[in-house]
């Protein structure tokens, strides 16, 4: 640990990220396992490390409403939530995105009830897939602090809200050595947000007013286009991070995937477990590799096509499920590879729902079953079955 490193849980890392990025308004409502994010932020505000206006609200819906209002004035707004809380925000998640506001949200992945659970899976954040938010899934606590800071820059540069996602407990409550960038290192990367729809008291306006169909459709197309633009900004920020701090991924992260016949595609902390398995297989001479999807929205179609080109088979390991369809990353990846000449066979497996541990054994089982010739099924295979 260097002197500028601290031992931080994922939640503390998220809070420090918001503070270092200069969050100006924090509106939040507590929910396990997110609560320590806003607790840490409250403490940072109290200690003067963060200058944010901290608003304790009565629900997640209000938290997002407050962030939307704050962002409209040009203030850097931040909130954090999890599972049921995120679901309660849903209506305003659409609003934040369609109003093109640079709100930053940290979501701690937690399984949806019932079957009450506080452990991790991705169905809460993936249920917000179509709201227009950028979604970044973190692999470790260093990436949490970096992604939160980058999210503020990304949001301001694209007028899109950004969700930074971290796994319950595996990251949220587990401490790792984390380097916290200094304010002066990162603040210049975050531009002032000055879109024409920023609230200006000298120029009163009604926001979100009635729009005829043709104009509405055009606005939605622009929202979609903004995501394409965001993909470039994400890579640009990743390049800046690599240059300045020598770390960090962009849209995806490839690990020993060059020349691999079999490539595991997964996200979040399962990817760090998978690295161990890939190392074992490579040591045994098995040509296997790993591609981690760090950014789910915008979905990195081009980057994935490039990274997977030449592989025989791709094994997608999902910690989520779109009931009635399949694992969601599996679904998205098959769509991304559809029509690509010589595309690999794609296998989909589901594991780790409701916080069930995903160990090297689990990852090995997924890869093993695919490599032994198990036929892929469109609805994903539940590994535990």
């Amino acid at each position: 640990m260097t002197t500028s490193e601290k031992l931080l849980t994922g939640n503390e890392a998220a809070a420090w990220g918001a503070a270092r990025a200069g969050a100006e308004v924090v509106a939040a409502y507590p929910i396990t396992p997110q609560t320590t994010i806003i607790e840490t932020l409250a403490s940072l505000v109290h200690r003067g490390i963060s200058k944010a206006e901290y608003i304790a609200v009565e629900s997640e819906h209000s938290a997002m409403a407050a962030c939307i209002a704050a962002a409209h004035t040009g203030a850097r707004a931040f909130t954090a939530t999890s599972s049921q809380g995120l679901a309660l925000m849903h209506e305003l998640m659409h609003w934040a995105a369609a109003a093109r506001l640079p709100v930053v949200l940290a979501n701690v992945n937690r399984a949806m009830a019932p079957g009450w659970s506080i452990w991790t899976d991705q169905n809460d954040s993936l249920s917000q897939r179509d709201t227009g938010w950028i979604q970044i899934y973190c692999v470790d606590n260093q990436e949490v602090v970096d992604s939160v800071i980058q999210a503020f820059a990304l949001a301001a540069r694209t007028s899109l809200p950004v969700m930074v996602v971290l796994d319950a407990f595996v990251l949220s409550h587990t401490a790792e050595a984390v380097h916290i960038p200094e304010e002066e290192e990162v603040r210049p990367l975050i531009p002032e947000w000055n879109a024409p729809w920023k609230i200006d008291i000298d120029r009163p306006a009604a926001l979100g007013s009635l729009v005829p169909p043709a104009e509405y459709e055009k606005m939605r197309k622009k929202l979609c286009d903004a995501h394409a633009q965001a993909a470039l900004v994400i890579e640009d920020l990743a390049a800046t991070w690599r240059k300045r701090f020598g770390r960090g991924a962009g849209l995806i992260e490839s690990y020993r995937a060059e020349g691999a016949e079999t490539i595991l595609v997964t996200s979040a902390t399962i990817a760090s477990t998978a690295r161990v398995v890939i190392d074992e297989l490579r040591d045994k001479g098995v040509p296997a590799g790993l591609v981690r999807v760090r950014v789910f929205r915008p979905f990195p179609v081009a980057a994935l096509r490039g990274a997977l080109a030449g592989a025989k088979r791709v094994v997608v390991l999902d910690r989520n499920c779109s009931y009635g369809a399949s694992g969601i990353f599996y679904q998205e990846l098959r769509a991304a590879l559809c029509g690509v000449p010589g595309a690999p066979v794609v296998h989909g497996y589901i594991a780790g729902m409701g916080g069930r541990d995903v160990t090297p054994l689990t990852v090995r089982a997924a890869l093993g079953r695919a490599m032994e010739g198990e036929a892929p099924v469109p609805e994903s295979t539940w590994l535990s079955e």
């Binding site: 926001l207 007013s209 009635l210 104009e215 929202l223």
Partner: protein, 566 residues
């Protein structure tokens, strides 16, 4: 996207369309008020303190002025309802605080403490209310207690010529003869009486029935007010009540307050449970006697004010509950002991309280060389024709006019009530009625109605407590028992700053403070602010959602249903 000089953006194709809908036009064309079936009405209502106060003072406004440091203005307002604030602030059982909504939060507002402080300030300031120019009209007021003095004061301010008679040498009535100085310092009482009677001709040592006759008074004046109180002791009905060592409570207090020494007797038995009993017990305690109060019901049923009973107990008065006096034991024409019998609660009497029922063979004897009978007072009916009385009291109609036209009555001679505040309230009401009858502008009978307040009494359900920061009540301190037995005032008066601090705690129930909540929370900008504290609904745009009413912290805004045709 090119920006026009007026700040708007110009775009000529869908490609140039901004990604977010922003309308720079006004939505005022949208007359959303057409949808409404309800409408907010911004009107002050009645706070529970004023509702509980017999004098119906405008307490909220008084406290507001006091909180703003405008004590003189608070005092002027107070004097328009009650000429004796330094007095009532000390001796009133303060029903105003009984339903103070802040009691359900962090303790009631010390309304009597502030009232006394304002009263003291008015005294030291030497303030005197203005009198209207002299008009024709002559009024006689008989009885210079709180009711008579109040009526005389307001009638004199109305410009009438007022003569105030009393059987005593000095005005004050029960305030002077009954209430001990440790509850009501005489410098405060004297100053308030001087101010109240400044324009009144006072004639002492004139008793109704002896020196004055109602018929004659009526002939010589345009109006007559009888406010003679009730002073005749209610006897216990025991043999030997006239013996040496047996005194009636009010008579004893009058002597003590006139500066006479306390009658002889070391061991004192006081019979009764009202304020007179407590005042006798505590006064005799201060004269160095050992005192027991004997009451026929339990402590909670005593008519005496709770504070008085508590303070008496603190000071060392013993209270014996559920006991009935049975016989006075005499020796050489003087009392030596008294025999009691124990009682238990029986069937309820007309007051709803359990009637004390003697327990057979439970008699016991208490040695006593001074017995004070304070079992209540009745009207001395002597000066009145029978036709003027009902149930032993003077009869009066709703305007307090008696059955003899041109003669009004106020205060304890009417029966009921019995508090100073009630006497003052009746005095003001009668003054208003007499002034009206004589065609002159009298005191305002309803101060809140006069400033446009409605009649809704604002209960705690109309208060939004989350809008008020917690400021715990500071209980007024009392002098320690040893020092107070020296005769000084028991309760420490509030200093200027303390009074303002207490007044700040007022929630202003039902009274708009111009806090702007309605204005800020209205989602349609349909609340119009005409002036601070003056709001109205823009009915062309108000949808009747009621958010302004929900967010009014103090119930100064109500939602009216417009019915089907709204």
């Amino acid at each position: 996207m090119p920006r026009l000089p007026d700040g708007r953006y110009r775009f000529d194709s869908l490609e140039e369309l901004p990604p977010v809908a922003v309308s720079l036009g006004s939505t005022a064309w949208n007359r959303t008020g057409d949808w409404r079936s309800r409408e907010p009405v911004f009107a002050d209502q009645r706070p529970p303190c004023t509702h509980g106060c017999p004098t119906e003072q405008d307490i909220v406004d008084q406290l507001r002025l006091c909180a703003q440091g405008r004590i003189r203005e608070a005092g002027e307002l107070l004097l328009s309802a009650n000429p004796f604030p330094a007095t009532t602030g000390r001796v009133c059982p303060h029903p105003c605080t009984a339903s103070c909504n802040r009691g359900q939060m962090d303790g009631v507002v010390d309304i009597p403490g502030v009232e006394a402080a304002i009263g003291d300030e008015l005294i030291s300031d030497g303030f005197v209310p203005a009198r209207r120019p002299r008009v024709g009209g002559r009024v006689a007021v008989v009885g210079a207690g709180p009711a008579g003095m109040t009526a005389a004061h307001y009638l004199a301010l109305a410009g009438l010529e007022v003569v105030l008679y009393d059987r005593d040498e000095r005005p004050g009535g029960l305030l002077r003869t009954g209430i001990p100085p440790y509850r009501l310092p005489r410098r405060a009482l004297d100053a308030e009486i001087d101010r109240a009677l400044r324009c009144v001709e006072f004639v002492g040592q004139r008793a109704l029935g002896r020196d004055l006759q109602l018929g004659t008074l009526k002939q010589e004046h345009d109006a007559v007010l009888v406010a003679v109180g009730r002073h005749a002791p209610r006897p216990l009905g025991l043999e030997g009540e006239g013996s040496g060592g047996v005194h009636d409570g009010l008579g004893l207090l009058a002597e003590l307050h006139r500066g006479q020494p306390a009658p002889a007797g070391k061991r004192v038995v006081v019979i009764g449970g009202g304020n007179t009993a407590m005042d006798c017990a505590r006064s005799l305690l201060r004269a160095g006697r050992s005192v027991g109060v004997f009451y026929r019901r339990d402590r909670a049923s005593m008519p005496a004010f709770v504070d008085e009973v508590e303070e008496a107990l603190e000071e060392g008065v013993k209270i014996e509950e559920w006991v009935l006096p049975e016989a006075l034991l005499l020796e050489g024409g003087k009392v030596r002991a008294i025999r009691f019998v124990r009682a238990r609660p029986g069937a309820p009497d007309s007051s709803g309280r359990p009637r004390p029922e003697p327990i057979p063979s439970s008699g016991f004897v208490v040695e006593a060389d001074l017995v004070v009978v304070a079992a209540g007072e009745v009207l001395d009916a002597g000066p009145f024709e029978k036709s003027l009385l009902t149930g032993g009291f003077v009869a009066a109609d709703a305007t307090l006019e008696t059955r003899m036209p041109g003669v009004w009555a106020s205060g304890d001679c009417l029966g009921g009530g019995g508090t100073v505040a009630e006497a003052i309230a009746q005095g003001r009401r009668t003054a208003a009625a007499i002034a009206r009858k004589l065609g002159v502008a009298g005191p305002e009978p309803d101060l809140l109605a006069a400033r446009g307040a409605g009649a809704d009494v604002i209960g705690f359900d109309r208060i939004r407590p989350h809008y008020f920061a917690a400021v715990p009540a500071v209980p007024r301190s009392k002098i320690d028992v040893q020092s107070r037995l020296g005769g000084g005032e028991v309760r420490v008066a509030l200093a200027h700053a303390q009074a303002s601090a207490a007044a700040v705690r007022c929630l202003s129930c039902g009274t708009c403070t111009g806090c702007d909540n309605c204005f800020q929370f209205c989602p349609d900008q349909a609340v119009v602010r005409d002036a601070p504290g003056r709001y109205r609904a823009d009915v062309a745009r108000c949808k009747g959602c009621g958010i302004c009413v929900t967010e009014c912290p103090r119930g100064a805004c109500v939602l009216h249903d417009l019915g089907e045709n709204g």
